[in-house]
Amino acid sequence: MDFEKKLSRLEEIVQKMEGGDLTLDDSLKLFEEGIKLSRDCQGQLTKAEAQVKKLVAIDSSGKATTEPFKDEES
């Protein structure tokens, strides 16, 4: 599931949980799913990937050639 889908599912869960009229079983399942989704999303947001690349070339089909961006001043 991509990030946007996770987010929208999470929002859906929040709304359902706030509705309140769930069985304990359902609410437990939603709770677990929601917390997992939230953690996934937060992980994705805070994971220090910092993929900084420099575009070298791009062909007519839009295929890009990149190289890691290095601080060229230092």
Binding site: F3, M17, L45, T46, G62
Partner: protein, 459 residues
């Protein structure tokens, strides 16, 4: 006033020698006022190209300086209100074009130019070009706010069109690293100043669009207006305008405006600010996630509490059958006791009633006995009463007889008295008899027959 007086005196004293009687004689004040009015009316607002010299910014904020060329000079003032709008610092030797009005400082009889706008020569032409292009694109609707695209709420990939060696990219990367490390950044290199810059920027921008990032940042760090001129390129502006990816323009400093800034979806005052704008949405997203997580936890806890409470409530209604049996047994005993008690009470009442009834009920034998007793009693009473009555009667009779005896006239006779009767009637008065009447006189032991011989009235 004294000047006026002296003028008048002069006029008067010289009137004879002055042949031109029609000439107006001014006071200095009048003259200066007239000069001022003439200059202001004749020249009005003028444009003047000259070099600045003797530049003195006063503590009041006003600028005092001279404007000169090789042959002449004029005093100039630029008041604070006007000079605060300048985007450059005037200095001696700078060739400028000013727009202003000529005025006369009457107390000293000097004239000067009050500058309203000032542009460095050369920049003026660029500025004019800039204004014309801006107006043209504005009329075409390229700056319309309706055209502006909204930044995505969670960009994952951004492209930055700028110099890979400039300060701008460093600022942007620093902020992205710190605030939104999850966002991938592709640097699309371009020269950002000089004659080659505009076509390179266009090419780099086109490449950036082909990468299909979520946001494109185009910009550079601060510099002179000439340095940033490539961002006023019409073709670049049209590329940005037609691009369907949100574009943030971040050229120079806050005070610098370029065509790029107007046509982009968002203008950031600096490259750092552009990065902040992108990263801000990530921070917001993180906050939102935290908030959602809290909501889920709270909601779950609430549901859990409700269910537990419900279970407790139902549990309270469930009763152990043994206990129920005991309950029933106890209840049975209780009811039994109550029944017993009630029966006792009932019987007691009944017995009482029965006793009362028995008491009230008399047997015939008893009744007969009772009646017999009563009868005997009555008989006795009757006998007694009768006896008593007879006795009483005897007594009464005796007493009556005694009374009667005492009252009997015969008793009087016994004592010597006699009763005289005529035809068996007792004679009480002499008038009842006349001579010759036969009368009988009763004495104790019989009658004496007599005839009346005389009657004597009174004794």
């Amino acid at each position: 006033m004294s000047q006026d007086t002296s003028n008048t005196t002069f006029e008067t004293s010289n009137s004879s020698s002055n042949k031109n009687r029609d000439a107006v004689v001014y006071s200095v004040e009048q003259l200066n006022v007239t000069i001022r009015q003439t200059l202001e009316n004749q020249l009005g607002i003028i444009w003047l190209q000259a070099e600045i010299s003797n530049f003195k910014p006063h503590t009041s904020g006003h600028f005092y300086f001279s404007l000169k060329d090789s042959k002449a000079q004029i005093s100039a003032i630029m008041f604070r209100g006007s000079n605060s709008k300048l985007k450059f610092k005037p200095h001696d030797g700078l060739e400028v074009i000013v727009r202003g009005r000529i005025t006369v400082y009457e107390p000293r009889g000097t004239y000067q130019i009050i500058c309203e706008t000032m542009e460095p020569v050369g920049a003026g032409a660029l500025q004019k070009q800039f204004e014309q292009l801006k107006e043209k694109l504005k009329l075409e609707g390229l700056f319309d706010s309706l055209r502006k695209k909204v930044l995505p709420s969670f960009p994952k990939h951004i492209a930055v069109v700028t110099s890979p060696t400039g300060a701008a990219i460093q600022d942007i990367l620093n902020i992205m690293k710190r605030r939104a490390p999850h966002v991938a950044v592709t640097v699309v290199p371009a020269v950002v100043q000089g004659a080659a810059a505009a076509p390179q920027l266009r090419e780099a921008f086109t490449k950036a669009v082909m990468l299909q990032p979520d946001v494109i940042i185009i910009g550079r760090g601060g510099g002179s207006i000439e340095d940033m001129w490539c961002f006023n390129d019409e073709a670049l502006a049209r590329l940005i305008s037609s691009c369907d990816i949100p574009v943030i323009s971040a050229v120079g400093h806050e005070i610098d405006f370029t065509i790029c800034d107007f046509v982009a979806d968002l203008r950031a005052p600096t490259p750092s600010a552009a990065a902040e704008l992108v990263a801000k949405s990530s921070t917001e997203l993180l906050q939102k996630l935290n908030q959602w997580e809290r909501l889920i936890r709270n909601s779950f806890e609430k549901i859990f509490r409700l269910k537990v409470q419900a279970a407790v409530n139902v549990g309270k209604r469930l009763i152990d059958p043994k206990r129920k049996l005991m309950d029933y047994s106890v209840r049975n005993d209780e009811l039994f006791s109550r029944l017993e008690q009630a029966t006792k009470v009932y019987l007691t009442h009944q017995r009482k009633d029965l006793n009362l009834l028995q008491q009230r009920m008399v047997s015939p034998v008893q009744l007969v006995q009772k009646l017999k007793i009563s009868n005997d009693h009555l008989k006795l009473r009757l006998l007694a009463e009768t006896k008593k009555n007879i006795t009483n009667s005897h007594v009464h009779v005796k007493s009556l007889m005694s009374l009667l005896d005492s009252l009997s006239p015969l008793r009087v006779v016994d004592r010597g008295f006699s009763i005289t009767q005529k035809n068996n009637k007792v004679i009480k008065s002499v008038s009842e008899v006349k001579i010759g009447d036969d009368i009988a006189v009763r004495v104790t032991d019989g009658y004496i027959q007599a005839t009346v011989k005389g009657v004597q009235n009174g004794f």
